[in-house]
């Protein structure tokens, strides 16, 4: 078990910089998820921790020891790959033991570790099979087993569930959570799926275009996003963003009018500097934070295009008077029958024009 520290880590491919100085502190035994859209640098960051990519700038330390120039094998890490990376010409047992055999680990110890990993993952009865004869979930277990066998200080997962179907994904997610509880080892997990991040992580690192946007516990990110990107990325369905304009301010609050809706005004308490009156802002409202008319701070008239019924809840796909799309979550019983409907905003977030949170 170990801490992992990234200090101003930079990655360049030729002249092209893909990670612009990442600072991340991962505590011993913590489960940290790197999340972000494709191309945000999350996998590159993981591969740099693993030692599969050179570090162009900055420092990475594992367990307090600088590992920039240390070979992957000597970093005390084990990695689970998106494609599983099982050796197709070896049996499950050979797959699990390959690394240890190749590096001259004592035979008895190798056998013990393989046996333990197989028991933890309940794959003991599959040991003689080739990967081709395994189901997707079984392959995933073997891939994780191969990491466990190394008895690493840090587990690295590179989108391990993205090749599984929806049902198996949920099942394996629970499995990985259980594994973390059981082993207590530091785990770093990369995914583009915010649901996986929310459910698995002790802390989430949100990345975009090579920048760390925010680091925090799942509910902190949900309740208190630093910027429009994080607000939009965390939570499903996405937060709605509606253009607005500052119409009034004082030392502790600001009043915003939604574009095209003169009567819809939102008053937000503000501790930082408030923007000038007349400047443009963005109002973020989560689908679940709309209420019936009069239930919230202010009311809004929208026109409903489509209603999706999911059983317990429903989603209303609607437009504001200004033509902006919004998604509204409702109890199935409370779905309106008219196309024009008045909803209230119970909770909202303000962002400035650059997308930074105003609070």
């Amino acid at each position: 078990m170990a801490t992992v520290t990234l200090n101003n880590v930079v990655k360049r491919f030729g002249a092209f910089e893909v990670v612009h100085g990442a600072n991340i502190d991962i505590k011993d035994g913590e489960f940290v998820v790197f999340v972000g859209p494709s191309g945000c640098g999350k996998s590159t960051l993981l591969r740099m921790i693993a030692g599969l990519e050179d570090i162009s700038g900055g420092e990475i330390a594992i367990g307090g020891k600088l590992v920039n120039d240390i070979e992957p094998a000597d970093r005390g890490i084990a990695m689970v790959f998106q494609s599983y990376a099982l050796y197709p010409h070896m049996s499950v047992e050979q797959n699990l033991s390959f690394g240890l055999r190749m590096t001259g680990n004592p035979k008895a110890d190798t056998e013990r570790r393989v046996k333990r990993a197989a028991e933890i993952l309940r794959i003991s009865e599959l040991m003689d099979r080739r990967p081709k004869k395994l189901s997707g979930g079984q392959r995933q277990r073997v891939a994780i087993g191969r990491a466990i066998v190394r008895e690493p200080q840090v587990f690295l997962f590179d989108e391990p569930l993205s090749n599984l179907d929806a049902e198996l994904r949920v099942q394996m997610r629970v499995e990985i959570s259980r594994l973390h509880k059981e082993l207590g080892t530091t785990m770093i997990y990369v995914t583009h799926d915010q649901t996986e991040a929310m459910t698995l992580a002790d802390r989430i690192v949100v990345l975009r275009a090579g920048h760390v946007e925010q680091i925090g516990r799942p509910l902190d990110l949900y309740d208190n996003p630093d910027n429009q990107f994080v607000a939009g990325f965390v939570g499903s369905p996405k937060m709605n963003f509606i253009n607005g304009r500052v119409v009034g301010r004082n030392t502790r609050s600001v009043t915003v009018e939604l574009a095209g809706q003169e009567r819809t005004r939102i008053m937000q308490p503000l501790t930082g500097a408030a923007p000038e009156a007349g400047s443009k802002v963005i109002v973020g409202v989560r689908p679940e934070h709309f209420g019936g008319a009069g239930e919230g701070d202010t009311d809004l008239v929208v026109t409903i295009d489509v209603v999706e019924h999911l059983g317990g809840t429903s989603f209303l796909y609607a437009r504001t008077a200004n033509g902006e799309d919004v998604v509204i979550q409702r109890d199935a019983a409370k779905v309106p029958t008219t196309s024009e409907v008045t909803v209230s905003i119970r909770k909202s977030y303000l962002f400035d024009e650059k997308g930074l949170r105003l609070r």
Partner: protein
């Protein structure tokens, strides 16, 4: 529907009517090789048309063995071709692996030069190679002379580079993370996965060595060091020679390869086709 299928039938018949004679013409020289090899010399040089095999193969073979030590030459050819194939497969796949899997200084230059040699006629290096091997190294009429200079082969390297670069990166990274040394990754992960490609490469290389004529003709011209094609070639054009014997030799050179071709057609074709598929 019935009119469509009758049109198809007509097309199919036309296709076979055209292709069958062409195929027979193409098979004809091979068939005649077998026929000649079983005919006595006076039968080959007689006015009648003979299109079916006779029973004289053994006699012809004995005549051949009288004219030149063909069995010995076959022995040399087999040993040389096997050694060459093993060495060349190893060399070629190692180079292909490096080019497919590593980022290194000068990579573009190395790849460029290898591509460049494809368009360069072998004739350009023939004379200096000969001078070097025969005069400078004094290696004429040895196995080394037959095996080592032809080891350079650009299409094979490009083929193996292509094969290795199509394998998923993760597989090798997984081994790296586990601390497996690069040469062990190559030996125990990459090579086993490349088995079908290695088979294709090996077949093509074996065939090239087995049939190689010009270089062995120049460098190993002493009786007793000749390969089978060279030994057979020395007989062609001699006035007092058994043509039935020459044909028996041709059959012995060709038929084993034809059998290999039939058995391993898939690998064979893959090996040849790979040259084109970039």
């Amino acid at each position: 529907m019935s009119s469509l299928s009758s049109a198809k039938l007509r097309r199919s018949i036309a296709l076979h009517l055209f292709l069958t004679p062409l195929a027979l013409i193409w098979l004809f020289p091979l068939w005649m090789m077998v026929v000649f090899s079983t005919m006595p010399d006076n039968g080959i040089f007689s006015p009648g048309i003979e299109l079916l095999p006779h029973g004289n193969f053994i006699d012809n073979f004995n005549n051949l063995q009288r004219d030149t030590d063909f069995v010995g030459a076959i022995g040399i050819s087999v040993s040389v071709a096997v050694t060459y194939t093993v060495l060349s497969v190893l060399l070629t796949s190692m180079a292909g692996w490096a080019l497919a899997r590593y980022q290194f200084f000068g990579k573009g230059v190395v790849v460029g030069i290898i591509f460049g040699t494809i368009t360069l006629p072998y004739a350009v290096v023939l004379i200096p190679q000969f001078i070097m091997v025969a005069r400078d190294f004094q290696l004429a009429n040895t196995w080394v002379a037959l095996i080592v200079p032809p080891l350079f082969n650009s299409l094979g390297v490009l083929f193996m580079r292509q094969s290795f670069s199509m394998m998923p990166d993760d597989l090798f990274d997984a081994a790296r993370v586990e601390g497996v040394k690069e040469w062990r990754i190559f030996l125990f992960v990459a090579l086993p996965l490349a088995r079908p490609m290695l088979a294709a490469l090996a077949i093509i290389l074996f065939l090239a060595s087995w049939n190689n004529y010009l270089w062995p003709l120049l460098i190993n011209s002493q009786p007793g060091s000749m390969t089978a094609p060279v030994a057979l070639g020395t007989l062609i054009g001699l006035t007092k020679v058994s043509w039935g014997g020459i044909m028996a030799g041709a059959v012995m050179l060709t038929v084993p390869m034809l059998i290999v071709f039939v058995l391993l057609q898939r690998h064979f074709i893959a090996g040849i086709a790979a040259g084109a598929v970039k």
